[in-house]
Symmetry: C2
Subunit: 212 residues, 2 copies
């Protein structure tokens, strides 16, 4: 089957930088490429736009197919269009940022992806294509959004302690926050509602909160 056009058309693909929290640190989901080019290298999940498919839907579908991950938050943060960025043909990459709660880490690879794996940001492998640059932009976009707190909920379970929320905030922002000031900020934003339940750990129980 062949598709013919009067003018050259680029291929259009989505690439997704999926982040989660593991042991308090931000991790990104990468797949090992099963085919050429860059066979065996690590890359962001992603793939080609299908006919009559919206870009958002493409990102969601590719993520599901390649890693069996259902993203809660999916945000477009940029396009990458350098002519030589894919050696096969011209590919415009529409880049998305996704956040995932840490307890939904069931990973599973399919044929496009030999395997999917989480990587801490300070232990990244070499990345295929221009994905290192895409990832850098994803982190910047994520940092810019995190100050509104709301996006962080996607990194946490449905109910969470304020310490967990602060941990997510610190991991994304990349710096530490004062506990009392952070709690005051959250209170000012009025973006969480306290529940009547507590989580009992090794020490004083912590109250659970949920998104307001």
């Amino acid at each position: 089957m062949a598709f013919t056009y009067a003018y050259p058309h680029p291929a259009v693909a989505t690439d997704i930088a999926v982040f989660t929290l593991r042991r308090g640190a931000l991790n990104v989901l990468l797949i090992e490429r099963a085919g050429e080019p860059f066979k065996g290298a690590w890359a962001l999940p992603g793939g080609f736009l299908q006919p009559d498919e919206e870009l958002d839907a493409c990102a969601r579908r590719e993520l599901q197919e390649e890693t069996s991950v259902e993203a809660e938050v999916l945000v477009h943060f940029g396009n990458f269009s350098a002519p030589g960025r894919d050696p096969r043909e011209r590919v415009i990459s529409v880049a998305y940022l996704a956040l995932l709660a840490s307890d939904e880490l069931r990973l599973q690879a399919d044929t496009d992806a030999a395997q999917a794996q989480w990587f801490a940001l300070d232990a990244l492998p070499e990345l295929a294509f221009d994905h290192a640059m895409i990832l850098k932009h994803a982190l910047a976009a994520l940092g810019a959004r995190a100050r509104e707190i709301q996006p962080l909920f996607a990194l946490l379970p449905p109910r969470f302690t304020l310490s967990q929320l602060q941990g997510a905030y610190e991991a994304v922002i990349g710096e530490e926050a004062e506990k009392r000031n952070f709690r005051k900020m959250v209170a000012t934003l009025a973006c969480v509602r306290e529940t009547e339940d507590f989580v009992h750990g090794a020490h004083r129980p912590a109250r659970l909160y949920e998104p307001a």
Copy 2:
């Protein structure tokens, strides 16, 4: 000449919402479509991505070709990919926002395409395609950026008075600002440098400032 691919490829185009200030109000640049579809309707300037052309360059080129306008600031703010948005074929629109100083309003009346014209936002004609929605998103993106003041410089001449800057701010934000508070904010941001020159108008001369 024909271009054939093993899988369907969408067309990729850029559309640009160019804003400027005219008589203190924000205006947007529209072109009258010379051909089908939507012949005779008004639309955002834009056009198809060429082989080996970056998206940013495509937006800049199309703007120049269709309206003879050289954009100072060009910012990507979203993609539009609804399958039916162009009746001819699948077209992914990569949308840009541009700002132009008001004294560079030489529009070419005799371009090959129909005419280009500025429209105040409260006197818009019906727009072709989904350009009304794209424009709505452009305004939202512009409003979000304007609070940092810096982007507004592109709407003004190289040197400007604080009243002009405030006028641009108000036009973009869509609400009035207190003169003293605005000046204090600008002073805090330290984003302008005062010059030794004054502009002499009908009344007390105003000091000229330039981007810091």
